[in-house]
Amino acid sequence: MTVNCILSGVGGQGTVLASKLIAQAAMDKGQNARTAETIGMAQRGGCVVSHVRIGDEIHSPMIPKHSADVIIGFEPAEAVRCLPYLKKGGVVVVSRKAIPPVTSSLGNSSYNGSEMIAYLQKEVARLIVVDGEKISKDCSSAKVLNVALLGAACASGILGLSMDELKNAISKRVKPQFIEINSKALEKGALAAKMTVPHHT
């Protein structure tokens, strides 16, 4: 079995750590993993995409188009940007909150993300929208969005990983003082996924 997962967001949102956590959890189960990251200039507030692939028969570090089982979008437009990678019937987990780029603030277009969420609702069979802002507030940290989204993806069952396996990975990869709030954010993300009513039934 292979699992292909795309994480897309804006530089600075913590996509790289989230991809490492998935890979770590898979490896701890004895699976093979591959990831590919955006590092460099794009990290300064540009679009960043991480590819995570789990399984044995994997060659390319990058996920081919139409092959992702799940897209974890840290921002609505960035989730839409990666849709060409999504498999038919694949899952999209997305944070509701938009991050307007300077270019759109400078112009007169007012991008706020809601049109992107609406588009996803129309196009994606299994969509999980996470209120990352609320979870961040509940955890009193702006830095837990990545783990909250992971929690939601995990609860959807699509990653083939259990919550405990991810928690274990967190305890290995995250600084000790941040383990607790990350575990909390993971749970809250999972809860958000469970409360999502499938709309395409």
């Binding site: 093979n32 990831t35 188009k65 960035e78 991008y111």
Partner: protein, 593 residues
């Protein structure tokens, strides 16, 4: 033991396990993590340094290799241009301890000025080059490269590409490391290059390389698999894309992991029985030309297709999809599915971080020069992003250090225009100083703006001579930029905090008015190496909705919401620039206690 490593980490661990004694380099995406990983895993027995530039790194490593040490030099492909002077001669002189030069190529390009191909450099310098196709292979290959270098007394190049460098994979790595004890330098005439010696060594190299090509024909990572009359030849990451695109199809496939000296014997075996070959590689058609040459040399009736025949795209990186479309036309494999149609998306180019001191520096120069004709020569680093609207303060960018000298050339042609050059602290040390000496000596009239943020930011915050920290964990003397400028004869030098906007503008005006070379050093740390002291919020009752904060400085933390400015608290770094620009005083700062 099994580890999950990034390609660059794998290269570093492979070098450590091979008993490397000295590692040096200059940061450059996608190569930077190699040296950082060695430093992180250093038990103290390895000497590690960020050198001031790639040329210095190459020479430091050469000296150590002369003394019998195993050395690793790391840089990105354009860094090899800087280091090419020692490289070309070193190819003639040779080494004693194994010396591996990693030059990471960047198809795309993703974060580089050029799509140059290090394999050409290997051919040009007549040096062996290893080209790994995956992080795992890179780990295994780096040890081979050291052994090869030592056996033949020659430096060898090692050329991973971005997707290998920044791809991570689970891999088995050794638990123990080899210990390599350098013998020390032994005096010999062979270490001093003279025309006569060069002539003799040139003959030796030309004799040696075909022998190496023969030997490399049986190298474990040069392979031929599959069968059929239509072959595919490849190298590097494209090999993995092809494997993925082929699925179950068992086409005849040659992987070239040592593009120079070319494994001719293996290639001839591969060509036997083929009518056609499709060469799929990134950057230049290196393997393709070698095969065409071989067919000519041996009168083989095989059609070689690839970039030169227009079957494979000339520029940019390959993907599984691009390979699929080539193989669809060539082997009749299924074409890639059509991509779905997306709604218009907001464009999101990279921008200077919220709170970046460069934003304030650019803004100060812009304000100081308002209404005057001025040209702004930029350079390589985060500050290249100062070209974006609304700042629009980078008129040129060429290569490391060129800001200082490009401005001089322009100034000689248009003496009545004010010319500025912007250079970062790390770039200043790497290759800015000679340009300033040139300006002083040749009586140029330019204003140099040094953007000193106490780090090498773009590549991930490496220390440099101005930071007083080394990769061995030592605290050393900080090399002073104003002292250097004064010493080389710059008469007007000031050091200012760019966030003191009024003062900053005054300093620029004064420097610009000075006849001759003048300099303003804007000193304020990158947000990644400092802590925020405050956070700003918009008082929506006071905000007039004029958008001046957005239109003037373009901080990514500020957007408009229902006609009023809004600051995103998770992004704001509390730099105060917006508050200094706002005509209504709507930005309120809250200092952290």
């Amino acid at each position: 033991m099994k580890k999950f490593l990034m390609g660059n980490e794998a290269i570093a661990m492979g070098a450590i396990h091979a008993g490397v004694n000295l590692v040096c380099g200059y940061p450059g995406t996608p190569s930077t993590e190699i040296l950082e990983t060695v430093a992180k895993n250093n038990d103290g027995s390895i000497y590690v340094e960020w050198s001031v530039n790639e040329k210095a790194a190459m020479e430091v490593a050469a000296g150590a290799s002369y003394s019998g040490a195993r050395t690793l030099v790391t840089m990105k492909q354009v860094g090899l241009n800087v280091a090419s002077d020692p490289l070309m001669s070193l190819a003639y002189v040779g080494v004693k301890g194994g010396m591996v030069i990693v030059s990471a190529d960047d198809p795309g390009p993703i974060s580089s000025q050029t799509e140059q191909d290090t394999r050409h450099f290997a051919q040009f310098a007549k040096l062996p080059v290893f080209d790994p196709s995956s992080p795992e292979e890179a780990y295994a290959m780096i040890g081979d490269a050291f052994a090869f270098s030592e056996e033949y007394g020659t430096p060898v190049l090692f050329r991973p590409t971005t997707r290998v460098c920044h791809g991570c994979a689970s891999m088995e790595i050794a638990d123990t490391k080899n210990v390599h004890k350098p013998e020390g330098f032994i005096k010999d005439a062979k270490w001093t290059i003279f025309p006569r010696l060069s002539y003799q060594n040139h003959i030796k190299i030309e004799k040696r390389n075909p022998i190496l090509g023969e030997k490399l024909s049986s190298y474990r990572f040069n392979t031929v698999t599959g069968s059929g009359t239509k072959g595919i030849a490849t190298g590097g990451i494209s090999y993995e894309y092809i494997k993925e695109a082929l699925g179950g199809c068992n086409a005849k496939l040659m992987k070239v992991s040592t593009p120079h000296p070319f494994p001719e014997k293996l290639a001839l075996e591969f060509l036997r029985g083929l009518t056609e070959v499709m060469v799929i590689e990134e950057l230049d058609p290196v393997i393709e030309r070698e095969l065409i040459f071989l067919c000519g040399k041996h009168h083989l009736n095989v059609t070689i297709r690839g970039k030169l025949s227009g079957d494979v795209m000339q520029a940019g990186e390959n993907t599984v999809e691009s390979v699929k479309s080539v193989l669809n036309g060539y082997l009749g494999l299924p074409a890639p599915e059509k991509s779905r149609f997306l709604p218009p998306l907001p464009v999101r180019p990279p921008v200077l971080c919220a709170g970046c001191p460069h934003r304030a520096s650019f803004y100060a120069v812009k304000q100081a020069m308002k209404g005057q004709k001025a040209v702004f020569a930029g350079d390589i680093g985060c500050y290249t992003l100062g070209n974006a609207m609304p700042l629009d303060m980078v008129d040129t960018c060429l290569c490391m250090g060129a800001d200082v000298t490009i401005a001089q050339g322009m100034q000689h042609i248009e003496p009545d225009v004010k010319h500025f050059s912007f250079i970062g602290d790390s770039t200043f040390f790497a290759s800015g100083i000679t340009g300033v000496v040139n300006a002083v000596y040749n009586e140029s009239d330019i204003t140099l703006i040094v953007l000193d943020n106490s780090t090498t930011a773009m590549t991930g915050h490496q220390p440099h001579p101005g930071t007083g920290r080394t990769m061995m964990g030592n605290i050393t003397e900080k090399v002073s930029i104003p002292a250097i400028l004064t010493a080389v004869g710059v008469k007007e030098v000031s050091v200012v905090n760019p966030f003191h906007l009024t003062e900053a503008i005054e300093a620029v005006k004064k420097a610009a008015a000075h006849k001759g070379v003048s300099a303003v050093i804007f000193r304020s740390p990158c947000i990644a190496v400092s802590k925020p002291v405050a956070s700003y919020q918009v008082d929506s009752g006071t905000c007039a909705g004029c958008k001046k904060c957005i239109k003037e400085i373009g901080c990514p933390a500020i957007s408009m919401d229902s006609g009023k400015a809004l600051i995103e608290p998770s992004l704001c770094f509390g730099c105060s620039l917006c508050a200094q620009v706002c005509p209504c005083g709507a930005m309120k700062g809250v200092r952290y206690s």
